[in-house]
């Protein structure tokens, strides 16, 4: 298929799905059917994109046929296509979960169109080749996230959503300033054009590049919840229903990391001498603070929210080390983390649907009553902590190995220690939710057969994601290869430049 269409499909499918959902606003069943079709088509489009990128190298298309430095470019390299594909897989799982797991009122007020718009935004961020466009896609993400977080308008949700939107607007302002500075310095915003200027190294303003870089570090740092600007995340991600927070918590912060990796391997390559040590310190602090924050929590979802932060640290660590192995580690770890984190959120949702609470104190004894759920949680949690042979292990192994190889023993040691504390946190959830005896056993509620069916259906997305996690862990070689090729492609931006500016 031609790249013109191939690159547009991951954007157009969710968009058309959302439009169709808006057109049949009153008929939720029709909306559900449309969303289901869009999710499947989106996954297929992302798979096709990855297949073609692997076969033909970097693909690019110029929207409106305006040539590259002036028009809007869409580009897909392996990293971008992989991110879109991971997004589609989590999207499919979250959609499956929302079928039995989300109340009717939220579906009536536009859950499906918002989810589809959000997914379009994810595709947009991962495929755009233009910094201003990138900013616009982040605004799309921000608006959709805000609407989804506040959908239902409970007190806690509104409080969380306001915190979320305030800090993220600030970040957007910083990004826009950065975009302006970059444009005034170089007169171009196309990633490939900027990368070419940086490589040729004869532009008079090149020494001023770090100034623009600072805005992007802070802006995307806030969006990716890097230390010290992470506090909005645990304040907002635990408030909405699971069908919302699983997608946002699982995927959207990682999109911030994706952008940082993209920008600091193409444009801000000359400012690395100041950025990398900074990233190294930030990565270490993000890991440690996140995991300590998690250890202090007593709510299932809050623990998971804090762990998002700590794992962002790992991803940043790979970028900070900036070796092929480290970047491959970041890519692998990001993919793994999106799947595992979403799965853990979904499991917390299954638990909450059965027991009616997320508070660890009130939960208990699930191991006896739901052994299969316990197994699913056990595997996901161990994968998150990085126990071999599950998927988290390979990512952490690559990162630690890269850390030791480049002589950064401190960060490598920190990452290993943080893994231990992660294991402690997961054990805490395990003990409280599954292992300990429930103090006051709830009076047996008579369940209708539809209730039982609904509970069973909730397992479906969890099992679906579990399959991917197991595949990534037990059959890691192809994914590792992919991550390594993607990292090599990132470090050799000539192919990227050539594909865009041909």
């Amino acid at each position: 298929m031609h790249p013109n269409l191939l690159l547009l499909l991951p954007l157009l499918i969710p968009l058309y799905g959302a439009i169709a959902c808006l057109l049949c606003w009153r008929w939720i069943k029709l909306q559900t059917a449309v969303t289901a079709a869009s999710q499947l088509a989106w996954t297929a489009a992302a798979g096709m994109l990855l297949y073609h990128v692997l076969g033909q190298g970097v693909l690019a298309t110029q929207i409106g046929n305006w040539p590259a430095p002036f028009g809007i470019t869409l580009v897909a390299d392996i990293f971008g296509a992989l991110m879109v594909l991971t997004g589609t897989v989590t999207g499919l799982a979250v959609f499956l979960f929302s079928l039995p797991g989300l109340d009717r009122a939220r579906k009536r007020y536009g859950y499906y169109p918002l989810l589809l718009f959000l997914q379009m935004g994810v595709s947009g961020v991962c495929l755009t080749g233009d910094i201003f466009n990138l900013y616009v896609w982040f605004e799309v993400l921000l608006i959709c996230c805000f609407a989804l977080l506040s959908l239902g308008s409970t007190r806690g949700q509104l409080e969380g959503a306001i915190k979320y939107v305030t800090i993220n607007f600030l970040a957007s302002g910083l990004l826009l300033t950065g975009v302006g500075v970059l444009y005034s310095l170089f007169g171009a915003l196309n990633l490939a054009a900027l990368a070419q200027m940086v490589q040729e190294a004869n532009h008079p303003n090149l020494s001023l590049l770090p100034i623009a870089g600072v805005f992007f570090i802070v802006g995307f740092g806030i969006k990716a919840a890097v230390f010290p600007m992470f506090f909005w995340l645990p304040a907002s991600y635990h408030t909405p229903p699971i069908a919302v927070s699983a997608f946002i918590g699982g995927l959207i912060t990682k999109v911030g990391i994706y952008t940082l990796v993209r920008l600091f391997t193409t444009v801000f390559v000359v400012s690395l001498s100041f950025a990398l040590p900074l990233f190294l310190v930030l990565a270490g602090l993000t890991m440690v603070i996140g995991v300590i924050g998690a250890a202090a929590q007593i709510d299932f979802r809050k623990i998971l929210s804090f762990h998002i932060i700590s794992q962002i640290g790992y991803m940043l660590m790979g970028l900070a080390l900036y070796t092929p192995l480290a970047l491959a580690g970041t890519i692998f770890f990001t993919l793994h983390n999106v799947l595992v984190k979403t799965n853990l959120f979904l499991i917390s949702g299954v638990v909450a649907q059965a027991e009616g609470t997320f508070a660890l104190k009130k939960l208990g004894g699930l191991y006896l009553r739901r052994p299969f759920l316990a197994l699913l949680f056990f595997l996901s949690a161990l994968s998150l902590a990085g126990i071999p042979p599950l998927s988290g292990f390979w990512g952490k192994l690559m990162l630690a190995k890269a850390g030791f190889a480049s002589g950064n023993y401190l960060i490598a040691g920190t990452s290993l220690a943080v893994s231990l504390v992660t294991l402690f946190s997961m054990t805490k959830i395990w003990n409280e939710v599954f292992w300990k005896k429930k103090k006051k056993p709830a009076p047996p509620v008579k369940k209708t057969s539809t209730d039982v069916l609904r509970q069973r259906l909730l397992y479906l997305p969890v099992i679906f994601l579990m399959l991917f996690i197991l595949l990534m862990g037990l059959y890691a070689a192809p994914v590792l290869m992919l991550a390594e090729t993607a990292a090599a492609q990132l470090l050799h931006s000539e192919t990227y430049i050539k594909a865009v500016l041909k």
């Binding site: 439009i19 929207i63 046929n65």
Partner: protein, 179 residues
């Protein structure tokens, strides 16, 4: 704001606003104007109408269509029934409603306008796929119309944006005027 002067002036001004907004929409490609600003100007007409006469009246005047419907008589053929319905709805609308006839009103919701606008704008770009060009490549077929000059996919895009903006503003105005 419900004064007689204002309400009367709005009756004259509303078509003017709408015509001017269409003019802005059509000149948009090569001159200042276009779908966004055209949609905003067009929505002024509805905002003033709402201010002067209330949102319910605006909806009744511009955004709803009342149909007259009767059940099909036993033995009446389908074409005869259809022509009777058409006649009742097109010609005899001023007459009083006969017995056994119902009134059914269709409302154009702002949300529908938003979705329709988006659909038109997004789809205007897909024509280029059939011509083997990147998404949203402009296509100007060789037409020369007296007022509109030339037609092309960018005009279609602008029309979509016009509807989208109109729908957005109407949605906001109706929501705010309800409180």
């Amino acid at each position: 704001m419900r004064t007689v002067i204002f309400a009367t002036a709005i009756r004259i001004l509303t078509p003017l606003f709408l015509l001017f907004s269409l003019y802005i929409l059509f000149r948009g490609h090569n001159n200042p104007g276009g779908g966004f600003i055209g949609g905003l100007i067009g929505s002024i007409a509805f905002i003033f109408h709402t201010l002067a006469r209330g949102p319910k009246d605006t909806v009744d005047t511009f955004l709803s269509l009342t149909l007259r419907i009767a059940d099909r008589m036993p033995g009446q053929s389908r074409p005869a029934y259809l022509s009777q319905m058409l006649k009742a709805n097109l010609v005899g609308r001023k007459k009083e409603l006969p017995d056994q006839w119902r009134q059914h009103s269709l409302r154009l919701r702002p949300l529908f306008l938003i979705a329709l606008g988006l659909l038109i704008a997004v789809s205007s770009g897909t024509f280029s796929f059939f011509r083997g060009e990147p998404y949203m490549t402009a296509w100007w077929p060789d037409t020369h119309l007296p007022v509109l000059a030339s037609l092309g996919t960018p005009l279609l895009f602008d029309t979509g944006i016009y509807l989208l903006v109109l729908g957005m503003v109407l949605k906001m105005v109706f929501t705010m005027s309800r409180d």
